[in-house]
Symmetry: C3
Subunit: 418 residues, 3 copies
């Protein structure tokens, strides 16, 4: 009898844990709407259909490729084949055990797959914003398919699938993916922006012309949805409904986001003379990306400090990239790459794992990712550029990608400022 009771109690815990992981999955899903809104809001209305198209199809492509190969590349498990690359098969399927605590006390096989698939697609979405307003749709779709289907899961495996970053003496630590998700997306974005070059009219005669986004409400909707989604992104990365740990993670996540907003407000007010809404919005995201690597290791004070630093970094990083003529319409590099790196290193500086050895391991993780994703994506972009071309024609860019790529307008009823 006691055995039966114990089993029922375990099953109940399994059901609770799995419930949280499914909800976290839904929250990460909504980040795709967050990215779509944010990127559309921060770019011009003549490219809005194109942005929405990319951000609608990427989750679809991401989920399909993750089904075909990504999940097995990232979590090779028994079929594990080495420190850098492993593949346990193709497709997804499970036996009855995959639906019980035998598989994992935190979730079923199906929940595991879907949560990770939603994560995977976010990495490709990060690229989308940085390369916006001039990339050819077909080229972007090809890149994204390879990026989300192969590059992202390979790097993910290094840590979360038991690869070399996980088996170092002092293992690299990346709780929910400051590096594994955000910097990976960020490096893909950086190489893309370099291969593409800046938008027409952005840097003329060594002057930086701001190109304002067309809808601040859309941008704000995007950032709020991303913060909401981050409750699932970070909170779900606990991989169970553990009350203490998940609630701590939600607190550290919210404190970092809040501090990021405040720091970006102050920095923009002091250095740009006016309190800038796009900086505050990116400050929130900066805090979120910054806390992601160590969201389970920090206390309130460390979380606020990480948020304040991230929110300050992002303002100066946006200015810096503009200075060196790296044209990133939405600030994705500053948010995801720069704050992703900072957040990863912060695990060695603040919180429960702070220490020199940990800092070194974090640095190794950052550098390995930079080298691999930087080279691999450069190669892909290079091949695409040489074969099918990477950029729309100057005429199409000037007229807008909505007409050029889609023969549609996002807002046909309204008069545009010429």
């Amino acid at each position: 009898m006691d055995n039966e009771l114990t089993q029922s109690i375990t099953n109940n815990l399994f059901t609770i844990n799995n419930l949280w992981m499914m909800i976290a999955t839904a929250l990460v899903f909504i980040m795709h709407l967050g990215f779509a809104s944010l990127e559309a809001g921060l770019t011009r209305s003549k490219n809005t259909v194109n942005i929405l198209f990319k951000n609608s199809i990427i989750p679809a492509i991401g989920i399909i490729t993750y089904t075909l190969i990504g999940f097995n590349l990232m979590y090779p498990g028994e079929g594990y084949a080495g420190a850098f690359f492993g593949l346990s098969g193709l497709g997804i399927s499970t036996d009855a055990a995959g639906l019980t605590p035998e598989y994992n006390l935190g979730y079923t096989y199906w929940t595991d797959f879907l949560f990770q698939a939603m994560f995977a697609a976010t990495a490709a979405t990060i690229v989308s914003g940085a390369v916006a307003e001039r990339i050819k749709l077909s080229s972007f779709l090809l890149f994204s398919t390879l990026f989300v289907g192969i590059i992202y899961p390979m790097v993910g495996m290094w840590k979360w699938g038991g690869g070399f970053l996980d088996s170092m003496d002092t293992p690299f630590y990346d709780f929910a993916g400051s590096t594994i998700v955000h910097s990976v997306g960020g490096w893909g974005a950086l190489t893309g922006v370099i291969f593409l070059g800046p938008r027409i009219g952005k840097y003329v005669r060594n002057k930086i012309s701001p190109i304002p986004g067309h809808s601040m409400p859309l941008a704000a909707i995007g950032v709020f949805l991303l913060w909401l989604g981050w409750f699932g992104f970070n909170g779900g990365s606990v991989l169970s409904a553990d009350p203490g740990l998940v609630s701590l993670v939600l607190v550290t996540t919210s404190l970092a986001a809040s501090a990021g907003a405040v720091a970006a407000m102050i920095s923009s007010w002091l250095f740009l003379k006016k309190p800038d809404i796009t900086m505050v919005l990116n400050g929130i995201l900066a805090g979120l990306v910054g806390i992601t690597a160590g969201a389970d290791l920090m206390g309130p004070v460390s979380s606020v400090l990480i948020g304040l630093i991230s929110g300050t970094i992002v303002v100066f990083s946006v200015i810096f990239f503009d200075k060196i003529k790296i044209d990133d319409p939405v600030g994705a590099l500053s948010v995801h790459l720069v704050c992703g790196i900072f957040g990863t290193l912060a695990v060695g500086i603040f919180g429960d794992k702070a220490g020199f050895n940990q800092f070194l391991s974090q640095l190794i993780g950052v550098i390995s990712t930079a080298v691999f994703v930087g080279s691999a994506t450069s190669l892909i972009w290079f091949i695409i550029k040489k074969s099918m071309g990477i950029r729309v024609s100057p005429e199409e860019e000037t007229e807008g990608l909505d007409l050029g790529e889609h023969a549609m307008e996002a807002y046909p009823d309204f008069e545009k400022v010429s």
Copy 2:
């Protein structure tokens, strides 16, 4: 002691199950915002207030009528009175047992009611999009009240309330409502569109003039929220937090949505020459509607196939309805009616219940629904048309329903393209 422990364990499971069902209820609720955004985005800005008005008041009317009569019509239970129609009383109330596992291990009486009430309102919302831009507000409100209060619950009872479709030798199967919700809404939409006729300017001298929607971001927001809501619509239809089954349903739902998007992208690129964002958005919805009848019966491959077929069907269906001059501004007929029928039949073709007898039963369900909802709504539309009128004046239609029905504008600050 053991009995007490067993009871506590059961109560915990009840609490978990009920928690999931409440969250699913909230997710289905947010589908109303999804429909509001999608329909507003795919129509012209001069009719936006009217769309928003309808989609704001329908959930309210739906919840109230479901309280008064709908819940008892759809789930007559003890008061059950026959295979086609039954009514167990008026209003909602429960004794203490309704709040315990005695009522149902999956949910309380209140949760049961609210989850089903949120479902009911979606059926009326489906009609709203198809009849947009020319229907009189008062006529629409009267129709919707009858539709959500009586027609929808009657058909729902046939299957979910234990009626004749459920008691056939091979019972009709409709997991979350490809027929019971989506086709029911679709038939009400089709008869409405026929009684109304096309919008002015849509079909002139045998030419089809596209009337583009006024905001693609709104449309995209709508579809993402609908996908999110579908996690509750399908996932909640498990009627408990069963880890294996709910997580499977979320996976099949997401795979079908993704495959629908990809198929619609490819179809529109090949046949319309350009990758069309509205087709991709409707492709997502098509996949969702298609999987809904059998979301718990399919594996990954079947789900992808159902999504691919639905996403292809929707593109050609939109073209077809335009060819035969059935003017549906948002594609609701193609998504909810056509893919609802396909999804229902797919239960007999793919997955755990595939087989000739099942296919026949599915066909019986499809046809019964068509006959009853088609006739009943035709009668209602006919009476409305003859008595109070169904359509606004040509002047009002040309000027826009926002000014005519509401004396307001949706965007008073912006210059419109004349």
Copy 3:
């Protein structure tokens, strides 16, 4: 062994309860996006960046000040120092017990903090809408910081922290904050509006000129998100996942919102001649605010009545405030203050606690809040007005606060109606 089993069962219940409270926290968080969208939609496009800025930074400031002092002011607990004011320390932290059922069977210390912090920020957001389109950003930020950091938690303590309203013979009852949150915000808004005066052009030569909001879709998105968030606001106020109580609360909440919408539709159709979308949207909110004080005490009929009354009140209240030249651009006073008072009194009129003594206690709560928040916020507004000024210059107001305060436009791509 039995002890261990009992402990595991308790831990499971704790995990379920805490899970619901975390989800409720996320739902309350999304109310901030709801307020941002609603307020932006109901005001002019030249002030949209300013609205979004305020509503983005307030949750951040709210969470930070609640961390520093608010949580300890509102829930002094052991450090409790009196009936009107108490403070148990600064900052947030917990020992291991704070993560177990020892702290509370419903949630961990961290969840407790974050749920309450999300509540706190909503109070300041209520002010934001009423004072929109003419308040100086820096003055508003200073006010909000004091309001959310000190005023709100002080009043909250009177009831929820065990203060004098909770220890009366017939304790004041306010389930989720019709008074403690909504009226508190409402009084701060009323004094702010009085100190500010009406917007330029609103009341000219004793005539009321309507100033329509610039985006009805944004307003509708806002209200739907607020309704969604209210599932967490009211449902989370049960402070556990208790199946019967939480599901009842979701039902009463939805019925009141629905009835509020219907009543506002009918009232506006009858008295304003046209069915007004902004009235329906505010009717939903009115119903939600009205049910909030007694959402756990009402049955379906009482909930519908409360919703109908609230939805009627809000229409006439909006007209009334305009008559007496209290200029509230978004109707926040009518929704949060007036319906907050009605909802609080309704606890003495309808439902399980109805009775004369309870009505008196409710009145005492309403009056104490009015007196304290009215005076305290008047003092703050007065000092701000005399020192740094409270209102932007007439030139800036006419040109719009987006250019004046932020040197940005919300929609730079679109032609504005001059």
